[in-house]
Each structure stands twice: as C-alpha cells, then as structure tokens.
Amino acid sequence: MNRSQPSSLVLALLRFVESENEALAGDLAEEWRAGRPRTWLWRQLVQAVFTTAWRKRTSEDAVLRLAPAVSFDRPERTFNLIDPATMNLRGFRVRGVGGGGLLGIVMLITVVLPQAWFVVAAGIGGGAVIGIAMIFRRHARGLAGPDDSAPLSLFGAHDAKVSASVHTRRSHMARFATV
C-alpha cells in the first residue's frame, strides 16, 4: 500500500505502547497500513498511550508495595523507596513538575480540540516566561539546587531544618524496621 510513513513521533509513541502491549501496537500498525486516516490513528494512539502510562504507573506502585518485604538487609533503602515525599518517578529532576503529564495534556488538546490552540500557545509562552524569571531570581539570590535533595529550593531558599527533619524521620523508620 502506498502510504506515507508515520511521523517519528507516532513511531516513538508506538514503541512506548509496545513496551507494555505488543499486540495493541501491532493492531494499530496493521490498521494504519490498511488505510485508516491519520486522525483515527492519533485518536487511538492517544488513548493507547494513556492506558499504557496508567498500567506502567500501577505496576510501579505494585513493586513499591512489595519493597518492605524484599529489602530486609537495607531497611533505610526500603523506606527511601516507599516514602512518598522522596519518590520521583517522572525522570525529571524537580519534584512536582510532571513533564510527561503536561505533554499528554498538550497532545490531547491538539487532537481533540484543535480550535483551542491558544491554550497551548499561552501555556508554552507562560512557561517560558516563568522559567526565565526563575533563572534570573536564582542568579540574583544564589540559591542551590534544584535537585531531589532540595526540591523546594526551586521557589525559595533551601530550608535545612525541613531537610534535617525528613532525614531524622527516615532514620527512625529504618531503626523501627530492624527491630
């Protein structure tokens, strides 16, 4: 069949879906080659990506629930894993900023409601302005971070007391686990 190849973004999303459900990715590829329109593919792909992301997230949660049972040798490591304040599964250094989630929302708006392009444009513009403002603010105040050890320092000075109390709580929990 003489069809243009799907874009690299489509192929990347298809690979993401394939990581969790090979048959579903195969079905999407088969239907695309059978002549389904591009809009159909995007609608299906967006839903498949959300389903896959949900399944990945729930399987990660299942692993974390098992963590206390599997890490008796290093309890402090276990509690580092299950403490929700220290989990960052988004692959992004700053906690609370979910790049994947934002990308999903943008894709959903683009596919489902293309008329609302100004929402996406305003979001991108606003994000850029806030990012630049924060860079200038950080340079002016000489703040440390941001990273997982000092997540709040993105918006203000790193509070050493808060950090110390978190570490103390973790060590208490670790000692409790060894009893």
Binding site: E18, N21, E22, A23, L24, A25, G26, D27, L28, A29, E30, E31, R33, A34, R43, Q44, Q47, A48, F50, T51, T52
Partner: protein
C-alpha cells in the same frame, strides 16, 4: 453461585469475539463492533476490557502469528471460555427480564 453480569461493553466484546470466530484479536473484534453497533471503539479500551475478562476467566488468549503489516508484532488471539458463555447467557436473561413488561417499550421497535 452468584450470577455474573457483564457490562454493556464487555457483552459487546464477547459477542463480537464469538461472531469473529477463530481469528478473534483486537482488530476484527473492534471492526465487528463498529459494523454491527455503529460505534467506533478504541483498541486500547478493547484490550483493557479483554484483559479484565481474561482475569475473570471469561476469555483465554494465545499468541498468534506476526505479520509484516504489523511490523513483526504478534497477534493476541482470544477465545471465549465456557464460563464466558455462561456469563453472556446470564446477562441476556437479566436484560430480557428487565425488558419485559415495560409499558413505554411495548409495541415499539428499537
């Protein structure tokens, strides 16, 4: 034994799988629903429902052939189990019982 009632989507999927027969995987099941019910379905939703049905023992699955059209990816073929057939019949009986003697529906064709 408690009655096992299916949701409308699960019922449609099981019936579509039965109509398709031996080659019941995602694409033909979704196409069957589109053709007979006039409703576009998401393949991801079809698989999510099929996996739920498999967990409940209403369908079983096996890996099929991998073709070039699918980019070398294997098909997952589904088969309705005897338990699934029982659930379909129980759901049908429940729906027919609800249908019966509803004055607003008497003498009308859907």
């Amino acid at each position: 034994m408690p009655r096992e009632l299916l949701t409308d989507f699960e019922l449609m999927i099981l019936l579509a799988a039965l109509r398709v027969g031996d080659e019941a995987y995602g694409v033909p099941i979704a196409r069957e629903i589109e053709t007979t019910a006039g409703r576009e379905v998401a393949l991801a939703a079809v698989y999510a429902a099929l996996e739920r049905l498999e967990r409940h023992g209403h369908v079983s699955s096996s890996l099929g052939e991998a073709t070039a059209e699918r980019g070398g990816r294997a098909k997952r073929i589904f088969e309705v189990t005897p338990q699934g057939l029982r659930a379909i019949k129980q759901t049908q009986r429940a729906l027919v019982a609800l249908w019966t003697d509803v004055p607003q529906l008497k003498g009308r064709r859907a």
